[in-house]
Amino acid sequence: MIIGDFWLPYVQIPKAVHSKAEFCEVYLHKQDVPFTADTWMSCAGALPHIDRSESDEDLLIATLCVKGSHFFGDEQMVNGRLIEPGTLFIVDPGAVHWMFDNKAFHKQERPGRFISVQWEIYRKNFNLGLFGVIKQLESISGQDIHWRCHDVRYPTHDEYVNFKKAGK
């Protein structure tokens, strides 16, 4: 679920990624991906689902929101959490998860675009992989991450601080 928030610099979003974000189907785009991420992801929303192929590969997905104001929820956090530009969150592809523009849903309006970049990290090396992503994003933003993670499935802020100290 949510790890924390960053201040993000301007990011050029490829046209295809932007236009596909109009639809309620997940679109992946592997070209021109910033921050050494693996892929762009865009959609207007996603019904509850499982990503079986990523789950079979034992991957967790670190996702950084670039555009949007959507609620991401999963089976361990049914009420979901608000994701906005700069929010880094984790998707466990084997857990039922979804994404809705709750505000638009409740107003019966068309959902807004959600656009993110994501890193695929093997579960067995997850903490190190995630810490590497955070460290890189801190360096790009010039500020420390604003840590928001209170999820027992994922590392704590102390673990990240210790990782950074050990690196010096």
Binding site: E22, F23, C24, E25, A44, G45, L47, P48, H49, I50, F71, G73, E75, V78, N79, G80, V96, W98, F100, N102, F105, H106, K107, Q108, R110, P111
Partner: protein, 162 residues
């Protein structure tokens, strides 16, 4: 999740006006006025995003619903892709498991969701089997139709209908 369907196409329901009105509103509304088949209340909304009903869970209740107006799919964490719910579909909601009621077609086409109207019974969890049996018998007798059991019934509720 859905346990059986009743063919109620030819049945006219006298749905209270406020229930119809509330089916276009974002909150789930309950109305105890003028129910049929011995239901506790009418339920109406245009859809429900995944949520838990902690109050009912803490009271040890399960929720039984029968759709009267619906183009929706009911889903929960154990059945994430959901099951279609039509007029006359009887389904069970476990309030302690995240569940949703969504008009998928409007979701994908980004149109306004159609309204959902149903009848609702709240039953004690440990009396679920007997209560569902009694609800089915009551609908069969009052509507004069037989329950049609779903082939792909959720394994949690297999023993409930014979």
């Amino acid at each position: 999740m859905v346990v059986c369907d009743f063919n109620l196409d030819s049945m006219l329901f006298d749905i209270p006006a406020e229930v119809i009105l509330n089916s276009s509103r974002p909150e789930i509304s309950l109305s105890e006025f003028n129910t049929v088949f011995g239901a506790d209340c009418w339920i109406s909304c245009f859809g429900a995003l995944p949520h838990l009903d902690r109050e009912e869970e803490q009271k040890g209740l399960m929720i039984v619903n029968m759709a009267v107006v619906s183009a929706h799919d009911v889903a929960d964490m154990k059945c994430p892709y959901g099951m279609p719910v039509m007029r006359g579909s009887l389904f069970i909601i476990d309030p302690g498991i995240g569940h949703s009621l969504i008009d998928k077609e409007s979701f994908f086409n980004r149109d306004k969701s159609r309204g959902f109207i149903g009848l609702q019974w709240e039953v004690k969890r440990d009396e679920l089997a007997a209560e569902v049996k009694s609800i089915i018998e009551n609908i069969e007798s009052e509507a004069g139709v037989k329950a049609i059991h779903r082939k792909n019934i959720d394994s949690r509720y297999v023993g409930l209908v014979s």
